[in-house]
Every structure is written in structure tokens, then in C-alpha cells.
């Protein structure tokens, strides 16, 4: 099924399918339901990076170099991590200035310089031509090879053919036609090529699918999995060196590192990558997904490169089959016709995707940044008088596409056969890498000047031509080969491959090293020694500070002059068509709250700026500048004035930053105040609670004292026994009152931090003995059995003896109060534990209700239900205990005793010299601070 007509029909059917997809996407876009406004499509469209180079060339490279093909994909992964910072900025700048291409971007940054835009365009076109020839070579080779089926014959063996019978020419022409039909059906201005992007995303899927299919087939169908392929390769003496390949390759790690850097720059500055990443981007947020999806795509498409490369070399020993064709020839040799056809279509999709986007990007550059500025300046053409230029613009773009593809074909005829696919592609990578200093420098360094950028580009490009392009032409026999071997005029120091005697590097590393030194050096040196014009200064500040100013405060502030709305409308209509001009006017009017054309628009600075940006979206910044300047009367601003505006702007920014900071501080202060207020309110509430509880507690004993003393005073006949009982009650209640008042006084002292603490070494054992002794009478009265578990000797703690006794007494009397009324039992234990002494007082009463363990140490909280039970204390004892224990750096808590009652425990740290007191003090300070 691999007859010629089937292959041709399949190819055209595939191109037709692309057309259908593009058409559908364009229709969807017109209906306002964009297909490409979606991060997945965006990520897939970035995969236009994977061209025929990836599809066929990686295997070829891997077959001779092992991992040598990988930096081309690892580099972009590293760069994309930086995109979060770098690309976001480029995207924002490009949106605000309606950038139409890479040349437009660089020209716009350096004062909308038409010359710079032209230089960038020329470098891009010359630099990319080898890359396009690579695609033509890959497609025509794969076509030729498929046609020989079932024989496997290399295209070089088929023999040289006359131009008109050359497949590559027909491939070039069909691709040109296809791209013209595809990309220049109407003038897009800076709108997105929706149809193109959708088709590219689809192509990315097709090539991935085809490559993974052939990878799986070779790895698991022809061989027995990864292990098998590598084991067989290891057994082959020719392939064994490839298994640890970095020793073998010339330059080893240096070459690897330079390839990584080169591809880091390529992923940003290849015109087609700039097109899909920046110009076609619909939403900055899509970057978040693309940042990992696109590297993942590259990882997956490279997984099977090595098995195919080794499999191919094992399959076709002796080098009769070009390794660049293994992807296609292995399925053919295995008689897998359908798979071979799929591979052919995959390769076609990889090549067409690249060619379409690249030529559209380049043709936009040629039109907007090379031809239009020249044509508009040529007064003799009288372009200014033509009413509709859209046809001219489209014509230029179509011509440019055809021209670029024919240049690619020419290069293929001239130099294509001498190099492998990857080597051709790397020449282009090195060319676009020359844009890096001017472009990256331009968005982060305000000091870069137009002259600096021009000097850098010129120097870098000159070295590139001399060290890469010249040798390519010499090797193909178009220039004397002696030029490479002896150097021009026999000067060995100037040999293009060992410039200034630098040898031992591979060609790309050598060229990159010298061209980057020249480029960066010239850019920085000329920028630092020269000065900027007013326009440059303004654009530099707009680019570098893009995130620091509001969009509307942008370009408009820099314009002064007079214009008429009618002139501006005519201007727009000539380049965009009447409908688009009306649209632009209506948009602007709507933003201003006016109804155009019923209400006239004031042609002020902001409006002129709006028109210029709209125009820039169609014809590029430099051409737009020329056109607007011709349509309105403007006064040129001097450099001083621009500086002043820029400085004002940055001062405003500074003020607003300061204001923001002040308001943040204010907010923080008011939040603090609010918190303090809340705390005060809470304290107030607590004080009220406290007062009402204390008065309540005081009233209860007072009431009974008063009642009994009144009985005694009024009724003299009360018998002696009764009298004694009443007096006993009065005495007891008075005692309770005294205790309560003492506790309240104590509490006030402790809380205010004014309590006197007489610290000394305290023996806890003694304390326990003393307090138990003092309470022995009470234990006896209540019939409580006391068990002590005390070690013979414990280290002393540092503290206030009286206070610690107070804690002990409180815990013991609590235990007595709550323990079982009939068979009361209390256990007191003392133990040393982790640098502290622990005292436990356990009873066999009802215990503390679960959930109350924490609050029981709060003020006026009493165990049990206060509504039904008669309260048995003031509710202050435990609170004071907690204060005292915490003051000493210890902890107090309650747990369930093994016998079921409550078990109160506290710890006090063992005295350990000065350090200990310090902690205590600090704790105390913190507590006072809390209050």
C-alpha cells in the first residue's frame, strides 16, 4: 500500500484535514467561542518546537553520539522554569504594545527603530533558512525512501536529479501554497491566528502519536523491551562506546553545556516559538500549565529515541542506511506498511507545523519591519495617498512566504547534502541565539541603547556567518575548501573553525563562544559609552518597568501635538480596512463613555496613542510610528522632558508604594487596637463576674451570721446547748469569711504581680510532712485514711515556702472535701521526674467531670453543678494554686485517679543554680505581659 499515489493522496488528505481544523477554529473564533483560549491547546502549540529534526534527526544524532541529542530538550526545560519570571514580562509588554513579531519586539524596545527591526529580520531570515531546508530535506527524503518500498535505498544513492524533478522543490512549493492559503487569508493585525494554532496543536498530537507508536514497535515488537535493546548494543563492539558517550564526544561536557545554553535561547528566540508563545497567547495564565506540560511533551517524545537509534544500528549494520531515516526504515524493513505510512505522516506533520508557523512569523517580520518602513519612506511611491493598503500588506506577506521557502530550497540544493539534520538545525539555533543579549538585556536593563543593540547583533551575526555559514558553504563545494584548512589568504589565525587559534572544541561550541563574546561585549560596551534618544529612553522605561505602572499611564504621557480624529480614522482605515477602523474608534469611545460617531472624539495624546498601538498591531511599531508621525502634527519631546516624565512616573510609583506601606501599617495598628479593645472588654466582663461572685460569696456567710446573732439577741430563752451550736456556726462562718477575704486579697496580689516572693531552697518532703501534720486533726474528724509515698530524700526546689505550703494545704483540703464520705482515702506521692519534682494528691471521691479538667483552674469555677449542689468553696483556691505553681516554673493539672477519684498533680523544677531562676523570671515576665 505504499505506492506513490497512496502516499501523495495521504499527504494531501492530511493537509486537507489541517485545513478543515483551521477553518473550524476560525469559525469558532468568529462566533466568540475560541478553541485556542485554553491552556492545553496552548501547551500543544508550543510543541511546534519538535520538528522533523526531532522526528528524524534525534535518532540520527543518538546513533552517533548517544545522549548528545538531549540538551536540545533539557535546555528548554530549564529555560521554561525561568519563564515564570521572564516570559510573563515579555507577554505583558507584548500585549501592551501590540507586538507582532520578535523583530517588532526588539525594534520597539530600542525607540521603535526601523533600522534595528530590519537588521533583526535579515538575521532571522538568513539564520532560519538552513532550518527550513532541514524540513524540506526530511520530507523529500522520507518521500523518496517510502517510494522505493520494499527496497530500502538512501536518497543520495538515487542520484542527483534535475531541479524540476526534485521532490524537495515540489514539497517547498506545496508548503508555500499551503501556508499562503492558511496564514494570510486576511490581515490579522495583532489578533490571533486561531485556525493556525488549532492546526498546529493537532499536528503536535499526530507527531507524538506517530513517534511513540514506532518507538513501542521497535522496542517491544522488534526487540524484547528496553533491557534487550541495550543488552544487544552492549554486546556489539561498535555500539559499546555509545553507552557512556560523554567521554567519546569531542568537547564532552563543554559541548553538552553549550548545547544546553543554545537551546535555552532558541526556545525563546526562534521566530516561530516567539509567535506561538507570545503573539498567539490569549491569556497569561495559560503559562502555568504550559510550564510543565510542554517539557513533559518533550520528555515523552524523546523516550524511545535511544532504543530506535540502537535498534536501527543493530538492524542495518555497516552504515548503509542513514541513521536519520531509522524511524522510517525500520518499519519498512519489518514490512509494517501502515506504520511506515503513519511515520511518514508524523514526519510530514512535524515539518509542516514548523514551516507554517516559521514562515508566517518571518513573513510578518519581512513585511512589517523590513519592507513597510522602507516603502513608507519612499515618497515616490505615494503610498500615503492610497486609501486601502490591506491588499499591499497581504501581497507582501504572501511573496515573503514564497521567497523564504525558495531560499530554504536553495540552501538545500547548495549545502543540504553535506550535513546531518541536527547539524543543519544547530546552525539556525546559533543564529537566533544572537537575539538574546538585545532582547533579554532590553527587558531587564534600562541602559541598553539602540546603537548597542545594533552593534551586538552585527558583531554576533558576523561571527556566526564566518564560523558556521561559511564552512557549510565551503564543505558543499561552493567556496574553496582551502579557506577552512589554511584560513583566508593563508592566515592560520583566521581559520573559521579555529578562530584565533582556538581548537579542540566542536564547531557549534566554538561558534557560540566567539559570537556570544562579540555580541554581548559590543552590546554592553556601546551601550555604556553612548547615550539614548528621548524615544529610546521612554521605551526602555516602558519595557523594563512594565509591571510597575498602570497600562493607561503608559505611552500617552509622552506625546504632545495636534491631530484630527478624521485624519486618524483615515489612517487606520487605510491599513486595517474601514470596518476595523470603526471598531477601534468605537472601542475607544466606549472606554471613554462616549457614543461614537454621534459624539466627536477628542484627538488628545491618549487617543493618538491608542491609534498608534492599533496600527502597530497590523504593521509593527516602527512603521506605525512613521505613519502616525506623518498624519498628525507633533512636537518632538526633548530627552530632558522625557526624563522628567519618566522620573515623575517613577516618583509617583514610589509615593504610591510608600502610601501602600503606610496604609498597611495603619491597618496593622488598628487591628492591634481592636484586639486590645476586645481584651479590655473581656477583662471588664471578668471584673463584673468577679464582683458579683465575690459579693454573693460574702453574702452567704454574712446572712447566716446575721440570722443566728439576731436569734441569740432577741430570744433570751434559747437553751445553752442551742446557744453553743449557734455560736459555733457563727464562728465557722466568720472563719469562712476571713478565708474568703484573705483569698481575694491574695488573688489581687498574685494577679497584679505585686506579691512578695521570698525565695529559698525548699524541701518538698518537709513541706508535705508539715502540711499533713497540720491537717491531721481534720483527717481524723472526717475519718479519712491517708497514705504517703515519699522518697527518703529529694533535691530541693527553689521557691517561696509559704506559698508552696499554701498550694499543698489547698489541694489536701480539697481532697478531704471531695473524698468518699464513709471510707475516705487520700494518697499523696512525691517523685522526681525529669529535672522536676512531682507531687500528686489523689482522692477516692466522684472525680472531676470530663471536660472540666482545664476550666477547674479558672477563677470561681467549682466542681460539680453549682445550680444544684451546695458550693463547697470560693472557687479561688485552685486558681491561686495555678498561679503559684506557674510562677515557680511548674505545671499543675488534674487527671483521673486509678481508684476513680480526682488526682491533682503539680511539678516544681529542681533548683539548678542561676539559670533556673532566670527561666522563672522570664516566665513570670511573659505572664505579666500577657495580662
Amino acid at each position: 500500500m505504499l505506492q506513490g499515489w497512496v502516499v501523495v493522496a495521504t499527504s494531501f488528505a492530511y493537509l486537507g484535514l489541517l485545513f478543515a481544523i483551521a477553518y473550524y477554529a476560525d469559525r469558532r473564533a468568529d462566533a466568540g467561542r475560541s478553541l485556542i483560549a485554553n491552556p492545553y491547546i496552548y501547551a500543544l502549540s508550543l510543541a511546534v518546537y519538535a520538528t522533523a529534526w526531532t522526528f528524524y534527526g534525534s535518532v540520527g544524532r543518538a546513533a552517533s553520539d548517544g545522549v548528545g541529542f538531549l540538551p536540545i530538550y533539557i535546555g528548554p526545560t530549564l529555560m521554561i522554569a525561568l519563564w515564570w519570571v521572564v516570559m510573563r514580562k515579555v507577554l505583558r509588554i507584548s500585549k501592551e504594545h501590540r507586538i507582532t513579531s520578535l523583530a517588532d519586539f526588539i525594534a520597539s524596545r530600542y525607540g521603535k527603530s526601523a533600522l534595528l527591526g530590519g537588521v533583526v529580520t535579515v538575521i532571522a531570515v538568513i539564520g532560519i533558512v538552513p532550518y527550513i531546508s532541514l524540513q524540506l530535506k526530511a520530507v523529500s527524503n522520507s518521500f523518496t525512501i517510502v517510494l522505493q518500498y520494499p527496497a530500502i535505498v538512501m536518497p543520495a544513492k538515487v542520484g542527483a536529479v534535475p531541479v524540476l524533478q526534485d521532490t524537495a522543490l515540489w514539497v517547498a512549493l506545496s508548503l508555500a501554497l499551503f501556508t499562503i492559503l492558511f496564514g494570510t487569508r486576511h490581515l490579522y493585525s495583532a489578533e490571533h491566528h486561531e485556525g493556525m494554532v488549532a492546526a498546529i496543536a493537532f499536528e503536535s498530537l499526530v507527531k507524538l502519536l506517530a513517534f511513540v507508536a514506532v518507538g513501542v514497535f521497535v522496542t517491544y515488537g522488534v526487540y524484547g523491551g528496553f533491557g534487550d535493546v541495550f543488552a544487544r548494543a552492549a554486546a556489539d563492539p561498535e555500539l559499546r562506546p555509545l553507552l557512556t558517550p560523554l567521554e567519546g564526544v569531542a568537547g564532552g561536557y563543554a559541548s553538552w553545556a553549550w548545547l544546553t545554553i543554545l537551546s535555552m535561547l532558541a526556545i525563546m528566540f526562534l521566530p516561530r516559538q516567539f509567535q506561538v508563545t507570545v503573539i498567539e497567547n490569549t491569556d497569561e495564565k495559560h503559562l502555568n500549565k504550559a510550564i510543565w506540560l510542554f517539557p513533559l511533551y518533550m520528555l515523552v517524545i524523546n523516550l524511545f529515541v535511544l532504543p530506535i537509534a540502537f535498534g536501527g544500528r543493530l538492524h542495518f549494520p555497516g552504515g548503509v542506511v542513514d541513521a536519520d531515516t531509522f524511524v522510517l526504515t525500520i518499519p519498512m524493513a519489518e514490512r509494517q506498511e501502515l506504520l511506515a505510512l503513519l511515520v511518514f505522516v508524523g514526519g510530514l506533520s512535524a515539518a509542516t507545523g514548523m514551516v507554517i508557523v516559521e514562515t508566517i512569523a518571518l513573513s510578518t517580520m519581512v513585511c512589517n519591519d523590513l519592507l513597510m518602513p522602507v516603502l513608507l519612506r519612499m515618497k515616490s511611491l505615494r503610498l500615503n495617498e492610497r486609501t486601502d493598503l490591506t491588499g499591499l500588506l497581504l501581497g507582501i506577506r504572501r511573496g515573503a512566504i514564497l521567497l523564504i521557502l525558495l531560499l530554504g530550497y536553495l540552501y538545500f540544493r547548495l549545502a543540504g547534502e553535506a550535513y546531518a539534520l541536527v547539524s543543519i538545525g544547530l546552525i539556525s539555533f546559533a543564529a537566533v541565539a544572537q537575539f538574546a543579549p538585545a532582547a533579554l538585556g532590553g527587558i531587564f536593563w534600562k541602559g541598553g541603547t539602540r546603537r548597542g543593540a545594533l552593534a551586538g547583533l552585527a558583531a554576533g551575526f558576523a561571527i556566526w556567518s564566518y564560523t558556521l555559514l561559511l564552512p557549510a558553504l565551503a564543505r558543499s563545494g561552493w567556496l574553496p575548501i582551502g579557506l577552512l584548512e589554511q584560513g583566508p589568504f593563508g592566515i592560520a589565525l583566521l581559520r573559521p573553525l579555529q578562530l584565533f587559534g582556538l581548537s579542540g572544541l566542536d564547531q557549534i561550541t566554538h561558534a557560540m563562544l566567539w559570537s556570544m563574546i562579540a555580541n554581548l561585549g559590543a552590546y554592553v560596551l556601546v551601550s555604556l559609552t553612548g547615550s539614548q534618544s528621548a524615544e529610546e529612553h521612554r521605551q526602555a522605561s516602558l519595557f523594563v518597568d512594565v509591571f510597575r505602572r498602570s497600562p493607561e499611564a503608559g505611552g500617552a504621557r509622552f506625546w504632545r501635538g495636534t491631530a484630527s480624529a478624521t485624519d486618524l480614522h483615515n489612517l487606520l482605515a487605510r491599513f486595517l480596512g474601514i470596518a476595523a477602523a470603526d471598531e477601534a474608534f468605537r472601542d475607544y469611545a466606549q472606554r471613554k463613555g462616549l457614543l461614537w460617531p454621534a459624539q466627536a472624539l477628542d484627538a488628545d495624546a491618549e487617543f493618538v496613542h491608542h491609534v498608534e498601538t492599533q496600527l502597530a498591531g497590523a504593521i509593527g511599531a516602527s512603521s506605525a510610528r512613521i505613519m502616525v508621525a506623518s498624519a498628525v502634527k507633533e512636537e518632538a519631546l526633548t530627552l530632558e522632558e522625557v526624563r522628567k516624565i519618566v522620573d515623575e512616573a517613577s516618583q509617583v510609583v514610589m509615593y504610591s508604594h510608600r502610601l501602600e506601606q503606610k496604609s498597611r501599617e495603619l491597618e496593622a495598628a488598628s487591628a492591634e487596637l481592636r484586639a486590645a479593645n476586645e481584651q479590655l472588654k473581656e477583662l471588664d466582663r471578668l471584673k463584673d463576674d468577679f464582683l458579683s461572685t465575690v459579693t454573693h460569696e460574702l453574702r452567704t456567710p454574712l446572712t447566716s451570721i446575721r440570722a443566728f446573732s439576731e436569734i441569740l439577741a432577741r430570744d433570751p430563752k434559747v437553751d445553752l446547748e442551742q446557744r453553743r451550736r449557734f455560736l459555733g456556726i457563727i464562728a465557722k462562718e466568720t472563719e469562712r469569711l476571713t478565708r474568703l477575704i484573705n483569698q481575694v486579697l491574695d488573688l489581687a496580689k498574685v494577679e497584679s504581680g505585686r506579691a512578695d516572693w521570698n525565695e529559698s531552697a525548699v524541701d518538698l518532703r518537709e513541706v508535705i510532712d508539715d502540711t499533713v501534720g497540720a491537717m491531721s486533726q481534720v483527717f481524723k474528724e472526717r475519718n479519712v485514711r491517708l497514705e504517703l509515698q515519699l522518697p527518703a530524700k529529694v533535691p530541693p526546689v527553689r521557691g517561696d515556702l509559704d506559698r508552696i505550703i499554701q498550694v499543698m494545704l489547698n489541694l489536701l483540703s480539697n481532697a478531704v472535701k471531695f473524698c468518699d464520705p464513709q471510707h475516705g482515702r487520700i494518697n499523696v506521692t512525691l517523685a522526681e521526674q525529669g529535672g522536676a519534682l512531682r507531687v500528686e494528691v489523689c482522692d477516692n471521691g466522684p472525680g472531676v467531670a470530663p471536660g472540666d479538667e482545664k476550666i477547674i483552674f479558672d477563677k470561681f469555677v467549682q466542681a460539680g453543678d453549682t445550680l444544684t449542689d451546695k458550693p463547697q468553696g470560693s472557687g479561688l483556691g485552685l486558681y491561686i494554686c495555678r498561679h503559684i505553681v506557674e510562677h515557680h516554673g511548674g505545671r499543675i493539672w488534674v487527671q483521673r485517679a486509678p481508684a476513680g477519684g480526682a488526682c491533682f498533680a503539680f511539678t516544681l523544677p529542681i533548683e539548678r543554680g542561676a539559670a533556673e531562676t532566670k527561666t522563672k523570671r522570664r516566665r513570670h515576665d511573659e505572664e505579666s505581659a500577657d495580662r
Binding site: 548517544g66 545522549v67 538531549l70 540538551p71 533539557i74 526545560t77 530549564l78 529555560m79 521554561i80 522554569a81 525561568l82 519563564w83 515564570w84 519570571v85 523491551g225 528496553f226 533491557g227 534487550d228 541495550f230 543488552a231 552492549a234 553507552l243 557512556t244 558517550p245 560523554l246 567521554e247 561536557y253 553538552w256 553545556a257 544546553t260 503559562l287 502555568n288 500549565k289 510550564i291 510543565w292 517539557p295 513533559l296 520528555l299 523516550l303 535511544l306
Partner: protein, 65 residues
């Protein structure tokens, strides 16, 4: 805006990590004639480290803070 700044720093750090992982001398440590599950150690290392880096980038890029 704060989270964005933080993520920018994370991404730059990841790029630096990648530069370290895929260069001399770390690469040289794996450039040995041995195999891991039948795959030469260098190849296995590059793909695993690469995948890991992508996973970290995904984590940072998709983080909401």
C-alpha cells in the same frame, strides 16, 4: 502578589537545580558503564532527573497560595 513572588523564587531555584543536575560534575557521576534495570545508568539518570524536575515545576506552577 506575595505568593507570586515566592513562586518566582522557587522557579529560579528549580532552574538552578536543573543546571546542576544536567552538568559536569553531577553528570559525570552517572557516566559509568553500568546498567540500572537493563538501561545504561546515564540514560536512566537523565530521564528520571528530568521527570522529577518537571514534576517539581508542575507542583510550583499549579500551587495556589
Amino acid at each position: 502578589m506575595h505568593g507570586f513572588e515566592k513562586n518566582s523564587q522557587r522557579m529560579v531555584a528549580l532552574c538552578m537545580l536543573g543546571c546542576l543536575l544536567f552538568n559536569f560534575p553531577v553528570l559525570a557521576l552517572f557516566n559509568v558503564p553500568a546498567t540500572f534495570l537493563g538501561v545504561p545508568v546515564l540514560y536512566a539518570y537523565i530521564f528520571v532527573a528530568w521527570g522529577l524536575l518537571i514534576a517539581l515545576m508542575a507542583w510550583v506552577a499549579e500551587k495556589r497560595d
